[in-house]
Amino acid sequence: MLPEILTTLNLPDDFWADLIPCSVSQLQEWRTGQRTVPYSVAERISKAIGIPASSVLATDAVTPVAIPAVWLKARDYELTVDVHRAIALTRLIASGYDELGTLLARQTNEYSQLFYEIRKSVSPSDPPARQGERAAAAFLSFTGLSHGATGIGEALRPRLRSAGVLLLETPIDLRPLEGFCFSVAPGSRPCLIVNSYRSTWFRRNAVLLHELCHAIFDLDSAGAIFEVGPSEDVTSESEDSRQSSEKRAEAFAMHALIPIRLLVAFENRGLKLQGLSADDMARLMSETHAERSLIAKAAEHHGFVDSSERHRLERLEVAEPLKHYSTHARNLYELSANQVYRLDILETSKRKTTFPIRGHRLPVQFVELVLEALQQGKISLGKAAELLMMRKQDLEKRFGLAPQYESVSVA
């Protein structure tokens, strides 16, 4: 069924050749039925696309192939090949996580219980915005993130990853697409992808929480959700239902990132939101880990400011003062050496894939898991390179690993 699958997804040959990876001429041999598709290729396609390997190998054209929703939606939205690459990359990382989890005896699906508890805390009869607010409170409480007078931006990512959520922040050349989420299989590990192309860390915190809310409430029924803005939304989903889930997700992101206690704590220090200066807005952003417009929205929602003041707050010039208050507003090269946790991270390319899918950034934890499995002798250097989607030589060079070749005496 490989030819049918390739036709249905309508992606260029280069995409498939990069993904498998194989030469385009070999792909043609499989497409035309000149050669049999090897089992391992079917497995690879299965991991990246989510179609069972048996369907890829099947020669019976009568059996319909169930293409996962994420691909069909990506096709219907006419998203770029880079988005499709990000989906495939995420699926491969998810599969890599599962493999490593088995090898290192470290599997977690804590997200399943967490999501269930959050859903349970919400009344379906409440308006969507109220649902989002209650869900945010439950999320902060269940994850232990509901304390302190600072934002959750820094603790959020490790907390979600430790719960088994796959979170990827990587540049995708489609600016209107802020993020998307899907699950590898129905009911399985949720994958949240946030587009880091020309976006700030503060904005991405909100996008991440927005996608998390979709993962909690909407993923089981929708299979995949893309944030491409209403103008580009061409799906046949019920508009009402979509708007409800969007409202819920927006409220969730706002209340999770800027609970009222953060604004109260700010005002209790004598700094008033009404008439806030650009410098103080920058300080508030550094404390809440939220972007300016979301802070302004929350301030209005909680009655600290009126709508005209909200619009003024949204337009404050904070770029320069923010660099003073938050390291997250600086680029890597604007940081001093003592502000970097690990100096080797200064070389950002260390986490970027080189082959077969170039230029995407891998989660630190995933890289660390691979290196741990390598250190424990559970995987070979070549396998580590395969999991990190880079050439063996690049892996050796980047991580200072000596080639492990000689003395093959295995007596």
Binding site: Q26, S40, G377, G382, Q393
Partner: protein, 229 residues
């Protein structure tokens, strides 16, 4: 004990053959000892589109396939081979090989994973330089190809057979070192030429002398003895 029908080649060893343009050594094995060089489909994929060398070796690989110098041991060929050995249900054996390869591929690259799985199941030798993969699989008690020879075993064997000259051998070492490819320690330049170095190299490929009592290799590093048919 007769010669093996096939010598499986792993990606890294085959790349060294192509880099040094010594496909004639594979041809020598085929013509003189009736040992057919072969690869598993996963190695074919890695050769035709290599992470390091791109598609540089695709034409030479395809030429080798066309001339019969190289064969791909796909499902059909493996089942035919098994049937010729009197195996009644070759498909079952083949699916077992795939399952073994799949397990191996959680630990090593796909080419090595399926090469070791097929070689160990069919009792075939493998030419592979990846000692790291071999060590990982051995530590996990996975079945290994016995024996597992390196490209330099083939070079030293051919040198001993008078198929290639010392200058050619030195050129091979030079090319491999220039390309930052693996070369066994014995051949790292020191005193003496290739002939001298090869004396301290434990070669895993040899021709059985007439009347010689040959023990079957039991470990990956044991010697494979070939006889002229």
């Amino acid at each position: 004990m007769g010669n093996p029908a096939f010598l499986l080649c792993d990606t890294d060893a085959l790349i060294q053959i192509y880099l040094t343009q010594r496909s004639d050594l594979l041809e020598y094995l085929r013509r003189s000892f009736s040992v057919q060089p072969a690869v598993v489909p996963e190695v074919e994929i890695e050769i035709r589109n290599n992470g390091q060398y791109g598609r540089r070796f695709e034409p030479v690989f395809l030429r080798g396939m066309q001339s019969g110098q190289m064969v791909v041991l796909d499902d059909v060929r493996v089942c035919t081979f098994l049937s010729s050995k009197g195996i009644v249900d070759p498909e079952t054996v083949f699916y077992r090989v795939l399952a073994e390869g799949n397990v191996n591929s959680s630990h090593v690259q796909r080419g090595e994973a399926f090469s070791h799985a097929l070689a160990s199941s069919l009792g075939l030798p493998l030419m592979s330089n990846d000692g790291d993969a071999l060590r990982v699989l051995a530590r996990l008690n996975r079945p290994l190809a016995i024996p597992t020879i390196r490209f330099m075993d083939l070079v030293v064997f051919a040198f001993g057979q008078g198929v290639i000259r010392e200058n050619d051998c030195q050129s091979i070492v030079r090319i491999l070192r220039g390309a930052h490819e693996y070369v066994p320690r014995a051949f790292i330049p020191g005193v003496g030429g290739f002939a001298h170095c090869s004396q301290s190299f434990s070669c895993r490929l040899a021709e059985a002398e007439s009347g010689q009592q040959i023990t079957e290799p039991q470990q990956p590093h044991h010697t494979l003895y070939l006889t002229i048919p």
